[in-house]
Amino acid sequence: MTESAVVMKSVNKWYGQFHVLRDINLDVKKGERIVICGPSGSGKSTMIRCINRLEEHQQGDIIVDGIPLTTNVKNIDDVRREVGMVFQHFNLFPHLTVLENCTLAPMWVRKEPKAQAEETAMKFLKRVKIPEQALKYPGQLSGGQQQRVAIARALCMNPKIMLFDEPTSALDPEMIKEVLDVMVDLAQGGMTMLCVTHEMAFARQVANRVIFMDQGQIVEQNEPNEFFLNPQSPRTKLFLEQILH
Protein backbone atom coordinates (compact mmCIF):
# COMPACT_ATOMS: atom_id res chain seq x y z
CA MET A 1 0.00 0.00 0.00
CA THR A 2 1.37 3.42 -0.90
CA GLU A 3 1.68 6.13 1.70
CA SER A 4 -1.00 8.76 2.19
CA ALA A 5 -0.30 12.41 1.44
CA VAL A 6 -3.52 13.77 2.91
CA VAL A 7 -5.96 11.96 5.17
CA MET A 8 -9.26 13.50 6.29
CA LYS A 9 -11.26 11.48 8.81
CA SER A 10 -14.86 12.43 9.64
CA VAL A 11 -14.12 16.11 9.19
CA ASN A 12 -16.90 18.53 10.09
CA LYS A 13 -16.95 22.28 9.96
CA TRP A 14 -19.51 24.93 10.73
CA TYR A 15 -19.70 28.64 9.94
CA GLY A 16 -21.83 29.66 12.91
CA GLN A 17 -25.01 27.63 12.41
CA PHE A 18 -24.16 26.70 8.83
CA HIS A 19 -22.81 23.15 8.44
CA VAL A 20 -20.35 23.67 5.59
CA LEU A 21 -18.40 20.36 5.69
CA ARG A 22 -20.32 17.22 6.65
CA ASP A 23 -18.40 14.11 7.60
CA ILE A 24 -15.68 14.37 4.98
CA ASN A 25 -13.55 11.23 4.58
CA LEU A 26 -10.75 11.38 2.08
CA ASP A 27 -7.45 9.55 1.60
CA VAL A 28 -5.10 11.00 -1.00
CA LYS A 29 -2.10 8.82 -1.81
CA LYS A 30 1.30 10.25 -2.63
CA GLY A 31 1.50 11.16 -6.31
CA GLU A 32 -2.26 11.03 -6.73
CA ARG A 33 -4.07 13.74 -8.73
CA ILE A 34 -7.54 14.58 -7.48
CA VAL A 35 -10.02 16.87 -9.18
CA ILE A 36 -12.82 18.24 -7.04
CA CYS A 37 -15.98 19.60 -8.63
CA GLY A 38 -19.45 20.51 -7.52
CA PRO A 39 -21.94 23.36 -7.55
CA SER A 40 -21.10 26.79 -6.18
CA GLY A 41 -21.25 26.94 -2.39
CA SER A 42 -20.85 23.19 -1.99
CA GLY A 43 -17.73 23.59 0.19
CA LYS A 44 -14.97 22.72 -2.29
CA SER A 45 -12.80 25.72 -1.39
CA THR A 46 -13.46 25.25 2.28
CA MET A 47 -12.36 21.63 2.12
CA ILE A 48 -9.04 22.21 0.42
CA ARG A 49 -8.37 25.32 2.52
CA CYS A 50 -8.65 23.15 5.62
CA ILE A 51 -5.69 21.15 4.34
CA ASN A 52 -3.26 24.06 4.84
CA ARG A 53 -5.18 25.58 7.73
CA LEU A 54 -6.45 28.67 5.97
CA GLU A 55 -9.69 27.43 7.51
CA GLU A 56 -9.96 25.58 10.80
CA HIS A 57 -12.07 22.42 11.03
CA GLN A 58 -13.98 21.75 14.21
CA GLN A 59 -14.35 17.97 14.26
CA GLY A 60 -12.39 15.05 12.92
CA ASP A 61 -8.74 14.64 11.95
CA ILE A 62 -6.68 15.97 9.09
CA ILE A 63 -3.23 14.47 8.65
CA VAL A 64 -0.94 15.97 6.03
CA ASP A 65 2.18 14.03 5.13
CA GLY A 66 2.03 12.35 8.53
CA ILE A 67 1.62 15.63 10.44
CA PRO A 68 -1.69 15.96 12.31
CA LEU A 69 -3.29 19.41 11.99
CA THR A 70 -4.01 20.53 15.53
CA THR A 71 -3.90 23.92 17.18
CA ASN A 72 -0.17 23.31 17.59
CA VAL A 73 1.47 26.23 15.74
CA LYS A 74 4.57 24.21 14.93
CA ASN A 75 2.49 21.56 13.15
CA ILE A 76 0.68 24.23 11.16
CA ASP A 77 4.00 25.74 10.06
CA ASP A 78 5.31 22.30 9.13
CA VAL A 79 2.21 21.50 7.10
CA ARG A 80 2.40 24.81 5.25
CA ARG A 81 5.96 24.02 4.22
CA GLU A 82 4.74 20.78 2.64
CA VAL A 83 1.73 22.27 0.90
CA GLY A 84 1.70 24.86 -1.87
CA MET A 85 -1.45 26.69 -2.89
CA VAL A 86 -2.65 28.48 -6.02
CA PHE A 87 -5.64 30.78 -5.75
CA GLN A 88 -8.36 31.82 -8.14
CA HIS A 89 -7.25 35.46 -8.02
CA PHE A 90 -3.50 34.72 -8.05
CA ASN A 91 -2.82 36.77 -4.90
CA LEU A 92 0.66 37.76 -6.02
CA PHE A 93 2.43 40.40 -3.93
CA PRO A 94 2.02 43.54 -6.06
CA HIS A 95 4.84 45.50 -4.41
CA LEU A 96 7.45 42.86 -5.30
CA THR A 97 8.84 41.84 -8.67
CA VAL A 98 8.05 38.41 -10.07
CA LEU A 99 11.45 37.17 -8.94
CA GLU A 100 11.01 38.65 -5.45
CA ASN A 101 7.57 37.03 -5.20
CA CYS A 102 9.27 33.70 -5.78
CA THR A 103 12.25 34.20 -3.46
CA LEU A 104 10.42 35.79 -0.51
CA ALA A 105 9.33 32.64 1.29
CA PRO A 106 12.46 30.56 0.52
CA MET A 107 14.62 33.36 1.92
CA TRP A 108 12.58 34.19 5.00
CA VAL A 109 11.01 30.86 5.89
CA ARG A 110 13.67 28.40 4.76
CA LYS A 111 16.56 30.86 5.25
CA GLU A 112 18.02 30.11 1.85
CA PRO A 113 20.77 32.49 0.73
CA LYS A 114 19.58 35.00 -1.85
CA ALA A 115 21.64 33.62 -4.75
CA GLN A 116 20.38 30.10 -4.20
CA ALA A 117 16.75 31.26 -3.85
CA GLU A 118 17.05 33.21 -7.09
CA GLU A 119 18.51 30.24 -8.90
CA THR A 120 15.62 28.04 -7.78
CA ALA A 121 13.14 30.76 -8.69
CA MET A 122 14.56 31.10 -12.20
CA LYS A 123 14.42 27.32 -12.60
CA PHE A 124 10.69 27.31 -11.85
CA LEU A 125 10.00 30.47 -13.85
CA LYS A 126 11.55 28.65 -16.81
CA ARG A 127 9.38 25.67 -16.08
CA VAL A 128 6.23 27.84 -16.24
CA LYS A 129 7.74 29.46 -19.35
CA ILE A 130 8.12 33.08 -18.24
CA PRO A 131 11.76 33.54 -17.19
CA GLU A 132 11.91 36.75 -19.24
CA GLN A 133 9.30 38.43 -16.98
CA ALA A 134 11.36 37.93 -13.80
CA LEU A 135 12.06 41.62 -13.20
CA LYS A 136 8.58 42.91 -13.95
CA TYR A 137 5.89 43.63 -11.39
CA PRO A 138 2.75 41.46 -11.29
CA GLY A 139 0.64 44.42 -12.43
CA GLN A 140 2.53 44.42 -15.72
CA LEU A 141 1.60 40.82 -16.59
CA SER A 142 -1.48 39.24 -18.15
CA GLY A 143 -3.76 37.10 -16.01
CA GLY A 144 -2.40 33.86 -17.42
CA GLN A 145 1.16 34.99 -16.80
CA GLN A 146 0.29 36.04 -13.25
CA GLN A 147 -1.23 32.66 -12.50
CA ARG A 148 1.87 30.90 -13.81
CA VAL A 149 4.01 33.10 -11.54
CA ALA A 150 1.75 32.08 -8.67
CA ILE A 151 2.39 28.43 -9.51
CA ALA A 152 6.15 29.06 -9.67
CA ARG A 153 5.99 30.91 -6.34
CA ALA A 154 4.36 27.90 -4.70
CA LEU A 155 6.82 25.48 -6.29
CA CYS A 156 9.82 27.45 -4.99
CA MET A 157 9.04 26.15 -1.50
CA ASN A 158 9.46 22.59 -2.83
CA PRO A 159 6.04 21.45 -1.66
CA LYS A 160 5.08 17.78 -1.68
CA ILE A 161 1.43 18.61 -2.23
CA MET A 162 -0.15 21.31 -4.38
CA LEU A 163 -3.63 22.73 -3.87
CA PHE A 164 -5.38 24.58 -6.70
CA ASP A 165 -8.58 26.50 -6.03
CA GLU A 166 -10.20 27.24 -9.40
CA PRO A 167 -6.90 28.40 -10.91
CA THR A 168 -8.39 29.18 -14.32
CA SER A 169 -11.80 30.63 -13.40
CA ALA A 170 -10.65 34.23 -13.42
CA LEU A 171 -8.91 33.91 -16.78
CA ASP A 172 -9.94 34.70 -20.34
CA PRO A 173 -10.38 31.57 -22.47
CA GLU A 174 -7.17 32.08 -24.44
CA MET A 175 -5.13 32.16 -21.23
CA ILE A 176 -6.67 29.07 -19.66
CA LYS A 177 -4.67 26.71 -21.84
CA GLU A 178 -1.27 28.13 -20.89
CA VAL A 179 -2.06 27.61 -17.21
CA LEU A 180 -3.50 24.14 -17.72
CA ASP A 181 -0.41 23.15 -19.73
CA VAL A 182 1.75 24.02 -16.75
CA MET A 183 -0.51 22.01 -14.46
CA VAL A 184 -0.41 19.00 -16.78
CA ASP A 185 3.37 19.23 -16.84
CA LEU A 186 3.37 19.30 -13.06
CA ALA A 187 1.06 16.29 -12.87
CA GLN A 188 3.29 14.34 -15.22
CA GLY A 189 6.22 15.17 -12.96
CA GLY A 190 4.52 13.18 -10.21
CA MET A 191 3.29 15.97 -7.92
CA THR A 192 0.45 15.17 -5.53
CA MET A 193 -2.31 17.54 -6.58
CA LEU A 194 -5.77 18.50 -5.35
CA CYS A 195 -7.50 20.73 -7.89
CA VAL A 196 -10.85 22.40 -7.57
CA THR A 197 -11.73 23.00 -11.20
CA HIS A 198 -14.50 22.64 -13.73
CA GLU A 199 -12.07 21.98 -16.60
CA MET A 200 -13.33 18.52 -17.40
CA ALA A 201 -10.84 17.93 -20.22
CA PHE A 202 -8.07 18.53 -17.70
CA ALA A 203 -9.73 16.10 -15.28
CA ARG A 204 -9.91 13.42 -17.97
CA GLN A 205 -6.30 13.97 -18.95
CA VAL A 206 -4.54 13.94 -15.58
CA ALA A 207 -6.83 12.99 -12.70
CA ASN A 208 -6.67 9.64 -10.97
CA ARG A 209 -9.91 10.40 -9.25
CA VAL A 210 -12.71 12.93 -9.57
CA ILE A 211 -14.63 13.92 -6.47
CA PHE A 212 -18.09 15.43 -6.61
CA MET A 213 -19.21 17.55 -3.68
CA ASP A 214 -22.64 18.91 -2.89
CA GLN A 215 -23.96 20.63 0.22
CA GLY A 216 -20.79 20.00 2.17
CA GLN A 217 -20.63 16.28 1.44
CA ILE A 218 -18.56 14.09 -0.84
CA VAL A 219 -21.40 12.64 -2.88
CA GLU A 220 -19.44 10.53 -5.29
CA GLN A 221 -15.87 9.75 -6.29
CA ASN A 222 -14.58 7.72 -9.15
CA GLU A 223 -11.88 7.28 -11.76
CA PRO A 224 -12.51 10.02 -14.44
CA ASN A 225 -13.86 7.93 -17.33
CA GLU A 226 -16.32 6.10 -15.11
CA PHE A 227 -17.21 9.35 -13.36
CA PHE A 228 -18.16 11.15 -16.56
CA LEU A 229 -19.68 8.22 -18.49
CA ASN A 230 -21.43 6.52 -15.70
CA PRO A 231 -22.33 8.83 -12.81
CA GLN A 232 -24.17 7.05 -10.02
CA SER A 233 -25.95 9.70 -8.01
CA PRO A 234 -28.76 11.77 -9.54
CA ARG A 235 -27.13 14.94 -8.16
CA THR A 236 -23.93 14.16 -10.04
CA LYS A 237 -25.90 13.47 -13.22
CA LEU A 238 -27.70 16.79 -12.92
CA PHE A 239 -24.46 18.66 -12.29
CA LEU A 240 -22.64 17.01 -15.20
CA GLU A 241 -25.54 17.77 -17.53
CA GLN A 242 -25.31 21.42 -16.56
CA ILE A 243 -21.59 21.87 -17.03
CA LEU A 244 -21.11 19.64 -20.07
CA HIS A 245 -23.69 21.47 -22.17
Binding site: L54, W108, Y137
Partner: protein, 373 residues
Protein backbone atom coordinates in the same frame (compact mmCIF):
# COMPACT_ATOMS: atom_id res chain seq x y z
CA UNK B 1 -29.69 52.22 -60.99
CA UNK B 2 -26.96 52.49 -58.42
CA UNK B 3 -26.88 55.03 -55.67
CA UNK B 4 -23.81 55.76 -53.57
CA UNK B 5 -24.12 57.50 -50.26
CA UNK B 6 -20.48 57.07 -49.34
CA UNK B 7 -18.08 59.80 -50.42
CA UNK B 8 -15.10 58.32 -52.25
CA UNK B 9 -12.97 61.47 -52.31
CA UNK B 10 -11.85 63.31 -49.17
CA UNK B 11 -13.70 66.55 -48.58
CA UNK B 12 -11.34 69.57 -48.69
CA UNK B 13 -9.94 70.50 -45.26
CA UNK B 14 -11.54 73.67 -43.91
CA UNK B 15 -9.56 76.06 -41.74
CA UNK B 16 -10.31 75.73 -37.99
CA UNK B 17 -13.10 78.09 -36.90
CA UNK B 18 -11.58 81.35 -35.68
CA UNK B 19 -13.33 81.02 -32.33
CA UNK B 20 -11.26 77.93 -31.37
CA UNK B 21 -7.88 78.70 -32.92
CA UNK B 22 -5.12 81.06 -31.94
CA UNK B 23 -3.77 82.37 -28.66
CA UNK B 24 -6.79 84.48 -27.95
CA UNK B 25 -9.18 81.54 -28.23
CA UNK B 26 -6.95 79.34 -26.07
CA UNK B 27 -6.79 82.00 -23.37
CA UNK B 28 -10.53 82.39 -23.51
CA UNK B 29 -11.00 78.63 -23.33
CA UNK B 30 -8.83 78.47 -20.22
CA UNK B 31 -9.95 81.54 -18.28
CA UNK B 32 -13.43 82.43 -19.47
CA UNK B 33 -15.26 79.56 -21.18
CA UNK B 34 -18.58 81.12 -20.16
CA UNK B 35 -19.39 84.71 -19.18
CA UNK B 36 -20.05 83.74 -15.57
CA UNK B 37 -16.78 81.88 -15.11
CA UNK B 38 -15.07 84.79 -16.86
CA UNK B 39 -16.43 87.06 -14.15
CA UNK B 40 -15.16 84.62 -11.53
CA UNK B 41 -11.71 84.66 -13.07
CA UNK B 42 -11.75 88.45 -13.02
CA UNK B 43 -12.79 88.69 -9.37
CA UNK B 44 -10.13 86.21 -8.31
CA UNK B 45 -7.49 87.95 -10.40
CA UNK B 46 -8.28 91.33 -8.88
CA UNK B 47 -8.22 89.94 -5.37
CA UNK B 48 -4.92 88.11 -5.96
CA UNK B 49 -3.32 91.18 -7.47
CA UNK B 50 -4.42 93.27 -4.50
CA UNK B 51 -3.22 90.71 -1.92
CA UNK B 52 0.13 90.11 -3.56
CA UNK B 53 0.71 93.81 -4.03
CA UNK B 54 -0.13 94.58 -0.39
CA UNK B 55 2.28 91.97 0.88
CA UNK B 56 4.95 93.08 -1.56
CA UNK B 57 4.53 96.67 -0.50
CA UNK B 58 4.69 95.80 3.18
CA UNK B 59 7.52 93.28 3.00
CA UNK B 60 9.74 94.95 0.40
CA UNK B 61 8.90 98.52 -0.60
CA UNK B 62 7.96 100.05 2.74
CA UNK B 63 10.16 97.68 4.76
CA UNK B 64 12.92 98.90 7.05
CA UNK B 65 16.10 97.10 6.08
CA UNK B 66 18.76 98.38 8.45
CA UNK B 67 18.35 99.96 11.83
CA UNK B 68 20.23 99.87 15.12
CA UNK B 69 16.99 99.64 17.12
CA UNK B 70 13.20 100.01 16.85
CA UNK B 71 13.04 103.74 16.02
CA UNK B 72 12.78 103.50 12.19
CA UNK B 73 10.23 100.69 12.49
CA UNK B 74 8.01 102.93 14.60
CA UNK B 75 7.83 105.62 11.93
CA UNK B 76 4.31 106.02 10.51
CA UNK B 77 3.83 104.04 7.29
CA UNK B 78 6.80 101.76 7.93
CA UNK B 79 6.53 98.19 6.62
CA UNK B 80 8.25 95.02 7.80
CA UNK B 81 10.94 95.50 10.44
CA UNK B 82 13.65 93.20 9.08
CA UNK B 83 16.44 94.43 11.40
CA UNK B 84 14.51 92.81 14.26
CA UNK B 85 14.74 89.42 12.51
CA UNK B 86 18.42 89.95 11.85
CA UNK B 87 19.12 90.85 15.45
CA UNK B 88 17.24 87.85 16.81
CA UNK B 89 18.05 85.24 14.16
CA UNK B 90 20.68 83.38 16.17
CA UNK B 91 18.44 83.28 19.21
CA UNK B 92 15.64 81.87 17.04
CA UNK B 93 17.94 79.04 16.05
CA UNK B 94 19.59 78.19 19.39
CA UNK B 95 17.39 79.71 22.08
CA UNK B 96 19.44 80.57 25.16
CA UNK B 97 22.11 78.00 24.43
CA UNK B 98 25.40 79.58 25.64
CA UNK B 99 26.99 81.42 22.73
CA UNK B 100 30.48 79.95 23.22
CA UNK B 101 29.00 76.40 23.19
CA UNK B 102 26.93 76.75 20.03
CA UNK B 103 29.38 74.59 18.12
CA UNK B 104 27.72 71.66 19.84
CA UNK B 105 24.23 72.15 18.35
CA UNK B 106 26.00 73.02 15.09
CA UNK B 107 27.59 69.58 14.97
CA UNK B 108 24.21 68.05 15.77
CA UNK B 109 22.57 70.03 12.93
CA UNK B 110 25.32 68.99 10.55
CA UNK B 111 25.30 65.26 11.43
CA UNK B 112 21.51 65.14 11.46
CA UNK B 113 21.19 67.03 8.20
CA UNK B 114 23.78 64.91 6.39
CA UNK B 115 22.45 61.54 7.49
CA UNK B 116 18.84 62.61 6.90
CA UNK B 117 19.76 63.69 3.37
CA UNK B 118 21.54 60.36 2.91
CA UNK B 119 18.36 58.57 3.94
CA UNK B 120 15.96 60.64 1.88
CA UNK B 121 17.84 60.89 -1.42
CA UNK B 122 17.33 57.58 -3.23
CA UNK B 123 20.60 57.71 -5.20
CA UNK B 124 22.85 57.76 -2.13
CA UNK B 125 24.03 54.22 -1.22
CA UNK B 126 24.56 52.63 2.23
CA UNK B 127 20.91 53.14 3.27
CA UNK B 128 21.20 50.44 5.93
CA UNK B 129 24.24 51.91 7.66
CA UNK B 130 22.78 55.36 7.34
CA UNK B 131 19.54 54.29 8.97
CA UNK B 132 21.47 52.58 11.75
CA UNK B 133 23.39 55.79 12.34
CA UNK B 134 20.38 58.08 12.17
CA UNK B 135 18.07 56.04 14.40
CA UNK B 136 20.58 54.67 16.92
CA UNK B 137 23.92 56.47 17.02
CA UNK B 138 22.73 59.97 16.17
CA UNK B 139 20.21 60.34 19.02
CA UNK B 140 22.91 59.29 21.50
CA UNK B 141 25.52 61.62 20.01
CA UNK B 142 22.98 64.46 19.92
CA UNK B 143 21.96 63.81 23.51
CA UNK B 144 25.54 63.75 24.80
CA UNK B 145 26.59 66.81 22.81
CA UNK B 146 23.56 68.92 23.67
CA UNK B 147 23.24 68.11 27.37
CA UNK B 148 26.95 67.80 28.14
CA UNK B 149 28.07 66.92 31.67
CA UNK B 150 30.17 64.05 30.23
CA UNK B 151 33.53 63.69 28.52
CA UNK B 152 34.57 67.11 29.86
CA UNK B 153 31.68 68.85 28.11
CA UNK B 154 30.11 71.61 30.15
CA UNK B 155 26.56 70.80 31.21
CA UNK B 156 23.75 72.74 29.50
CA UNK B 157 20.29 72.27 31.04
CA UNK B 158 17.35 71.83 28.68
CA UNK B 159 15.82 75.05 30.00
CA UNK B 160 18.57 76.84 28.06
CA UNK B 161 17.75 75.07 24.81
CA UNK B 162 15.31 76.75 22.51
CA UNK B 163 14.29 78.02 19.14
CA UNK B 164 14.47 75.95 15.99
CA UNK B 165 16.74 73.51 17.83
CA UNK B 166 13.94 72.54 20.22
CA UNK B 167 11.25 72.63 17.53
CA UNK B 168 13.27 70.20 15.43
CA UNK B 169 14.05 67.96 18.40
CA UNK B 170 10.39 67.74 19.36
CA UNK B 171 9.20 67.28 15.77
CA UNK B 172 11.77 64.69 14.74
CA UNK B 173 11.43 62.71 17.97
CA UNK B 174 7.67 62.79 17.53
CA UNK B 175 7.88 61.73 13.90
CA UNK B 176 10.41 58.96 14.50
CA UNK B 177 8.55 57.62 17.54
CA UNK B 178 5.02 57.94 16.18
CA UNK B 179 5.41 55.73 13.12
CA UNK B 180 6.58 52.50 14.80
CA UNK B 181 4.34 53.10 17.83
CA UNK B 182 1.41 53.85 15.55
CA UNK B 183 2.03 50.67 13.55
CA UNK B 184 2.10 48.58 16.72
CA UNK B 185 -1.08 50.25 18.02
CA UNK B 186 -2.83 49.69 14.69
CA UNK B 187 -1.86 46.01 14.66
CA UNK B 188 -2.93 45.72 18.30
CA UNK B 189 -6.29 47.24 17.52
CA UNK B 190 -6.86 44.56 14.88
CA UNK B 191 -5.45 41.76 17.03
CA UNK B 192 -7.46 38.62 17.76
CA UNK B 193 -6.36 38.79 21.41
CA UNK B 194 -9.07 40.65 23.35
CA UNK B 195 -6.73 42.11 26.00
CA UNK B 196 -4.32 43.57 23.45
CA UNK B 197 -7.18 44.85 21.33
CA UNK B 198 -8.96 46.52 24.24
CA UNK B 199 -5.79 48.17 25.53
CA UNK B 200 -4.82 49.54 22.12
CA UNK B 201 -8.33 50.71 21.25
CA UNK B 202 -8.67 52.32 24.67
CA UNK B 203 -5.37 54.14 24.39
CA UNK B 204 -6.10 55.40 20.88
CA UNK B 205 -9.61 56.58 21.69
CA UNK B 206 -8.62 58.31 24.93
CA UNK B 207 -5.64 60.13 23.46
CA UNK B 208 -7.53 61.10 20.30
CA UNK B 209 -10.39 62.46 22.36
CA UNK B 210 -8.18 64.94 24.19
CA UNK B 211 -6.47 68.09 22.84
CA UNK B 212 -2.68 68.04 22.72
CA UNK B 213 -2.57 70.99 25.11
CA UNK B 214 -4.33 68.87 27.71
CA UNK B 215 -1.90 66.01 27.15
CA UNK B 216 1.01 68.41 27.62
CA UNK B 217 -0.51 69.88 30.77
CA UNK B 218 -1.15 66.43 32.16
CA UNK B 219 2.44 65.46 31.40
CA UNK B 220 3.95 68.53 33.02
CA UNK B 221 1.58 69.26 35.92
CA UNK B 222 -0.35 66.11 36.81
CA UNK B 223 2.31 63.49 36.09
CA UNK B 224 4.72 64.62 38.85
CA UNK B 225 1.89 64.39 41.40
CA UNK B 226 1.77 60.62 40.85
CA UNK B 227 5.53 60.21 41.04
CA UNK B 228 7.39 59.64 44.31
CA UNK B 229 8.61 62.99 45.71
CA UNK B 230 12.00 64.08 44.49
CA UNK B 231 11.57 62.52 41.07
CA UNK B 232 10.63 65.13 38.53
CA UNK B 233 11.66 64.28 35.00
CA UNK B 234 12.92 67.00 32.70
CA UNK B 235 10.28 69.33 31.25
CA UNK B 236 11.43 68.78 27.67
CA UNK B 237 11.48 65.02 28.17
CA UNK B 238 7.88 65.12 29.39
CA UNK B 239 6.89 67.17 26.37
CA UNK B 240 8.63 64.69 24.07
CA UNK B 241 6.78 61.76 25.63
CA UNK B 242 3.48 63.65 25.44
CA UNK B 243 3.90 64.64 21.80
CA UNK B 244 5.17 61.16 20.85
CA UNK B 245 2.23 59.32 22.41
CA UNK B 246 -0.26 61.83 21.06
CA UNK B 247 0.93 61.54 17.49
CA UNK B 248 1.23 57.75 17.79
CA UNK B 249 -2.51 57.54 18.44
CA UNK B 250 -3.25 59.53 15.29
CA UNK B 251 -0.71 57.57 13.29
CA UNK B 252 -2.32 54.32 14.45
CA UNK B 253 -5.60 55.30 12.85
CA UNK B 254 -3.89 56.34 9.61
CA UNK B 255 -2.06 53.00 9.46
CA UNK B 256 -5.24 51.10 10.29
CA UNK B 257 -6.87 52.72 7.27
CA UNK B 258 -4.05 51.36 5.14
CA UNK B 259 -4.38 47.89 6.64
CA UNK B 260 -8.04 47.83 5.73
CA UNK B 261 -7.13 48.44 2.09
CA UNK B 262 -5.13 45.20 1.87
CA UNK B 263 -7.19 42.35 0.40
CA UNK B 264 -7.64 39.13 2.36
CA UNK B 265 -5.90 37.24 -0.44
CA UNK B 266 -2.58 38.84 0.50
CA UNK B 267 -2.81 37.41 4.01
CA UNK B 268 -3.85 34.01 2.67
CA UNK B 269 -1.05 33.87 0.12
CA UNK B 270 1.49 34.83 2.81
CA UNK B 271 0.23 32.17 5.17
CA UNK B 272 0.10 29.59 2.39
CA UNK B 273 3.81 30.07 1.61
CA UNK B 274 4.52 29.67 5.32
CA UNK B 275 5.29 33.21 6.50
CA UNK B 276 4.78 33.75 10.23
CA UNK B 277 2.52 36.58 11.48
CA UNK B 278 5.33 39.10 12.00
CA UNK B 279 7.07 38.25 8.72
CA UNK B 280 3.78 38.52 6.88
CA UNK B 281 3.18 41.94 8.41
CA UNK B 282 6.73 43.14 7.85
CA UNK B 283 7.28 41.83 4.33
CA UNK B 284 3.88 41.74 2.68
CA UNK B 285 1.20 43.71 4.47
CA UNK B 286 2.94 46.79 5.92
CA UNK B 287 4.87 47.78 2.79
CA UNK B 288 1.60 47.85 0.87
CA UNK B 289 -0.49 49.39 3.63
CA UNK B 290 2.00 52.17 4.34
CA UNK B 291 2.32 52.97 0.66
CA UNK B 292 -1.43 53.44 0.42
CA UNK B 293 -1.45 55.91 3.29
CA UNK B 294 1.66 57.97 2.53
CA UNK B 295 -0.50 61.10 2.08
CA UNK B 296 -2.13 60.46 5.46
CA UNK B 297 1.19 59.79 7.15
CA UNK B 298 2.74 62.96 5.80
CA UNK B 299 -0.38 64.86 6.75
CA UNK B 300 0.16 63.63 10.32
CA UNK B 301 3.83 64.63 10.19
CA UNK B 302 2.90 68.12 9.01
CA UNK B 303 0.29 68.51 11.76
CA UNK B 304 2.80 67.28 14.28
CA UNK B 305 5.42 69.73 13.08
CA UNK B 306 3.07 72.65 13.58
CA UNK B 307 1.64 71.27 16.82
CA UNK B 308 5.11 71.39 18.36
CA UNK B 309 4.41 75.11 18.86
CA UNK B 310 2.01 74.08 21.65
CA UNK B 311 4.90 73.08 23.90
CA UNK B 312 5.31 76.82 24.51
CA UNK B 313 2.24 76.47 26.78
CA UNK B 314 4.28 74.54 29.34
CA UNK B 315 7.11 77.04 29.23
CA UNK B 316 9.42 75.52 26.65
CA UNK B 317 11.06 78.06 24.38
CA UNK B 318 10.53 76.43 21.00
CA UNK B 319 10.73 78.51 17.83
CA UNK B 320 7.23 79.93 18.24
CA UNK B 321 7.73 80.89 21.87
CA UNK B 322 11.15 82.43 21.34
CA UNK B 323 9.97 84.56 18.42
CA UNK B 324 7.03 85.80 20.47
CA UNK B 325 9.11 86.51 23.53
CA UNK B 326 11.34 88.77 21.41
CA UNK B 327 8.40 91.14 20.84
CA UNK B 328 8.72 92.38 24.42
CA UNK B 329 12.36 93.30 24.07
CA UNK B 330 12.36 97.05 24.90
CA UNK B 331 14.97 97.65 22.22
CA UNK B 332 12.77 96.25 19.43
CA UNK B 333 9.14 96.56 20.50
CA UNK B 334 7.49 98.57 17.71
CA UNK B 335 4.25 98.68 15.76
CA UNK B 336 5.68 96.37 13.10
CA UNK B 337 7.75 93.98 15.24
CA UNK B 338 4.92 91.55 15.88
CA UNK B 339 3.79 91.47 12.24
CA UNK B 340 7.33 90.89 11.02
CA UNK B 341 7.98 88.18 13.57
CA UNK B 342 4.81 86.26 12.75
CA UNK B 343 5.42 86.68 9.03
CA UNK B 344 8.92 85.23 9.33
CA UNK B 345 7.62 82.48 11.60
CA UNK B 346 4.92 81.53 9.11
CA UNK B 347 7.51 81.46 6.35
CA UNK B 348 9.82 79.14 8.33
CA UNK B 349 7.03 76.69 9.23
CA UNK B 350 5.76 76.79 5.67
CA UNK B 351 9.17 75.93 4.20
CA UNK B 352 9.45 72.84 6.40
CA UNK B 353 5.90 71.65 5.83
CA UNK B 354 5.93 72.32 2.10
CA UNK B 355 9.19 70.38 1.73
CA UNK B 356 7.64 67.40 3.51
CA UNK B 357 4.63 67.57 1.25
CA UNK B 358 6.70 67.74 -1.95
CA UNK B 359 9.00 64.96 -0.80
CA UNK B 360 6.05 62.69 -0.08
CA UNK B 361 4.67 63.26 -3.60
CA UNK B 362 8.06 62.35 -5.02
CA UNK B 363 8.25 59.15 -2.97
CA UNK B 364 4.69 58.19 -3.84
CA UNK B 365 5.52 58.34 -7.53
CA UNK B 366 8.70 56.35 -7.01
CA UNK B 367 6.98 53.61 -5.05
CA UNK B 368 4.11 53.17 -7.45
CA UNK B 369 4.40 49.60 -8.76
CA UNK B 370 0.71 48.91 -9.15
CA UNK B 371 0.56 49.61 -12.91
CA UNK B 372 -3.20 49.52 -12.72
CA UNK B 373 -4.67 49.48 -16.19
Amino acid sequence: MSLSYVRTIDAPKLPAPTTTAGTWAKLRERFAPTPLSGLGTLVIAVFLAWAIWSIFQWAIIDAVWTAPDREPCNAPGAGACWPFVQAKALQWVYGFYPIELRWRPNIVFLLGGLSLAGLLIPKIPFKGWNALFFFLAFPIIAYVLLTGGRFGLEEVGTEQWGGLLVTLIVAITGIVASLPLGILLALGRRSKMPVVRTLCTGFIEIVRGVPLITVLFMASVMFPLFMPPGINPDKLLKALVGVGLFSAAYMAEVVRGGLQAIPKGQYEASMAVGLSYWRMMLLVVMPQALKVVIPGIVNSFISLFKDTSLVSIIGIFDLFNIVQSGFNDAKWASAQTGNTGYFALALIYWVFCFSMSRYSQFIERRLNTSYTR
